[in-house]
């Protein structure tokens, strides 16, 4: 495979690679009769970015006799080669050495030539079976507008929630009804449909996705000075971001969104949509066997955060702690859902953890949630809780441990806690009644 580009187009390719580098650590390059395609997938497989350069962007475009080819190379050397493109007049990309190396040849001003040979890791390719044209909600806007939306939120934010109704679009950094830390600042940005170039929202939809890859894609749109099209169905369905420039460049970012059952997520993905396939045998596609099992397995491998086992799904909670391994307290037996409004928030070591709300309303007293999960529970202030109080729990558990036996209780303290129970808890009552949450017990706090 060999193709050449002139300086300006080479700079666009460099910008594309820089954006893709923010998504994943490896670059998948595919060439066929339509043109050159570059793809990247993020480590948790929750986002796939693909940028296609049409054949007309290239001065010459030669394919191997088999008609198409693809390769996977590490992203880091690519970044090094394409870092400084100001002096480049001509660029040549080719696969050499019997398909083991990817060669980049840059002819620069002052008769300087830069050459790089990057080893090809393998010939895998990413494919996704997701139909991209069937979304019912389509919003198209200029990159400037979407950049403003993205810049309105802190750069350390990880998720973005878009709530689209036929009349308005809100961008938020929280989800309705999620229990969050006292120090969490909620931001909301509301936009009118008239601000967008095209706004088609049939029914309301709320989607939450990881903002990091979205921002990386926005950067590329800015470099191209193009519009972005956002297409989505509803929570849980994939979210598509498309950029199209002059028919020459087509970009697609597929992001997975939080399912409506989850309240928040640290890493969320739908691996069933995305499969890795070997280019030599296109017919064989390995799909993940089922969403649940594979999801959880891969998660265990991929991250350090604790998982909740979906099988004991009555309590579904995950820790919102993307960077650090969890240091969850030891296990508590199941809560009794009670009349009290006090929420027993499990205290973590770090204050900025976002704790999740237990969604379920069924509980078995005997059921023990898996170790290492955060729990939120309700209990009646009058009843003595039969189990541990937060402060007695260990804070330094390994999340992979089996169920940890409870520490023995202290009766005296139990009584004290029963009587002065509210003194020992972090009470948090959300002010905003939200449609998504269920009220399990009426508010009996006399102060409110």
């Amino acid at each position: 495979m060999k193709c050449t580009l002139e300086g300006g187009n080479a700079r666009i390719v460099a910008k594309a690679i820089q954006s893709l580098s923010k998504v994943g650590k490896e670059l998948f390059i595919e060439a066929d009769i339509h043109g050159l395609r570059m793809r990247s997938i993020n480590p948790t497989q929750s986002a796939v970015a693909s940028i296609c350069f049409h054949r007309c962007m290239f001065d010459t475009f030669q394919l191997p006799p088999s008609g198409d080819c693809c390769c996977k190379i590490a992203m880091k050397p690519c970044l090094g080669v394409f870092r400084n493109m100001k002096q480049v007049e001509h660029c040549e990309l080719s696969i050499v050495c019997n398909r083991t190396k990817f060669q980049v040849n840059l002819r620069c001003k002052l008769e300087t030539t830069k050459q790089a040979l990057i080893a090809i890791v393998d010939e895998l390719n990413i494919t996704s079976d997701v139909p991209t044209d069937r979304s019912s909600n389509i919003i198209r806007g200029d990159h400037k507008l979407l950049m403003e939306i993205s810049n309105s939120f802190n750069s350390s934010e990880e998720e973005l929630t878009l709530e689209a109704t036929p009349d308005s679009l809100s961008a938020k950094n929280y989800i309705e009804g999620a229990r969050v830390n006292d120090k969490f600042m909620r931001s909301q940005l509301k936009l009118k449909p008239s601000e967008f170039d095209h706004y088609q929202v049939a029914e309301g939809a709320v989607i939450t996705f990881c903002i990091k890859e979205f921002r990386a894609f926005l950067l590329f749109a800015e470099a191209l000075n193009a519009q972005l099209t956002l297409e989505f169905e509803d929570a849980g369905s994939p979210f598509f971001v498309k950029i199209k420039k002059h028919r020459e460049i087509e970009c697609l970012l597929i992001l997975s969104t939080l399912s409506p059952d989850d309240v928040s997520f640290s890493e969320d993905y739908r691996p069933r949509e995305i499969s890795m396939c070997n280019s030599t045998n296109v017919a064989q596609k390995r799909k993940s066997s089922g969403p649940g099992q594979d999801v959880q397995q891969k998660r265990r491998l991929a991250e350090d955060t604790t998982l909740s086992d979906v099988d004991t799904a009555l309590f579904q909670f995950r820790e919102h702690r993307p960077e650090r391994p969890s240091e969850a307290p030891s296990v508590q037996p199941a809560r009794l859902l009670a009349d009290g409004d006090t929420v027993d928030l499990v205290e973590e070591e770090a204050d900025e953890e976002a704790l999740l709300l237990a969604v379920s309303d069924a509980m078995e007293a005997s059921q023990i949630p898996p170790p290492g999960s955060t729990e939120v529970c309700f209990y009646n202030t009058e009843d003595a809780p039969p189990t541990l109080i937060p402060s007695q729990m260990e804070h330094n558990d390994d999340e992979e441990d089996e169920s940890i036996p409870q520490s023995p209780e202290r009766e005296r303290e139990q009584r004290v806690r029963t009587i002065f129970s509210r003194c020992f808890q972090n009470t948090y009552v959300p002010r905003e009644p939200s449609p998504n949450s269920q009220v399990y017990a009426p508010n009996s706090d006399t102060e409110d």
Binding site: A74, G80, R83, L110, E111, T113, K114, Q115, A116, A119
Partner: protein
Amino acid sequence: MQHSKLLYEKGIIKNRRMLTQSQYENYKLVCRLEHIKTFYSSIKAICFSDFGTLQASEDGLLITVEQGKSIQATLFIAPAFFAEFKVDGAPSFSVKINVLAECLSLFGLSDCSIKMLYKGEGAPLLLLLEPHDDDQVSTECSIKTTNVEEPMEYELDLNSSSLNTIFMRGPDLSNIFHELDKAADEYEFTISPLKPHFKITTLGVMQAESSVEVAKSSDMIILFNCRETTVARYKCQQIKLTNKAMQVATKVAIKTDASGLLEMHFMMQSDDQEEMYVRFFITPLLELDGN
């Protein structure tokens, strides 16, 4: 003569130079610069080792810094560069080069005039700095000197058949080096009468090899004199030590021969077009058999 200062103040002696001579006539080295900017950046460029050797002679001042017998940098300043240059014999001594650099930067970015004095063996090196923008302030530094160890004499055989010389524009070469992969272990320099004329390859990076080539007809090459092809490898860290000099140099001369010894001359030009040179010698990495 000892009262010459007094006489000067009284107005009887009008020539300030007489004053200097009288006070410092025993000193082995007296030199003065009106602007230290170029001198300071040159000293910083060779600041990679602890001690530097200063050798003064009628031909000028040489400051040499060495590291491990594999890299040597020498700063040449001709007498014409100085506003005043007086030397008695050929004194040579060693000082801590980074202390010298720090003393030169005592007044920060403001330009100063400097006077360097060295009485003789065992005496400290005296620096008198006076900033131009403030008459009220001046500083005197006294840097301890040690006995000199003769620096290694490197020399490229000028008559060698494989002597290759390239003169390049400083900023352009600096750009090229700046863009080389920093993670590399070694750089391989190839100079050849055939294509590629001048090529630097980075080696030692996982999964990637990269190289930069410049054709001899390029505008950035002022002179290209190549007889035979030479290929040699150098440690990346040592080449990086030339970075500071390369960033401020106006012209760079690269010379090497079949032995692989690399000689790089950096020409630093001051505002009034006077020049001083920094010369680096870098020894090549020997190829192990079977590599």
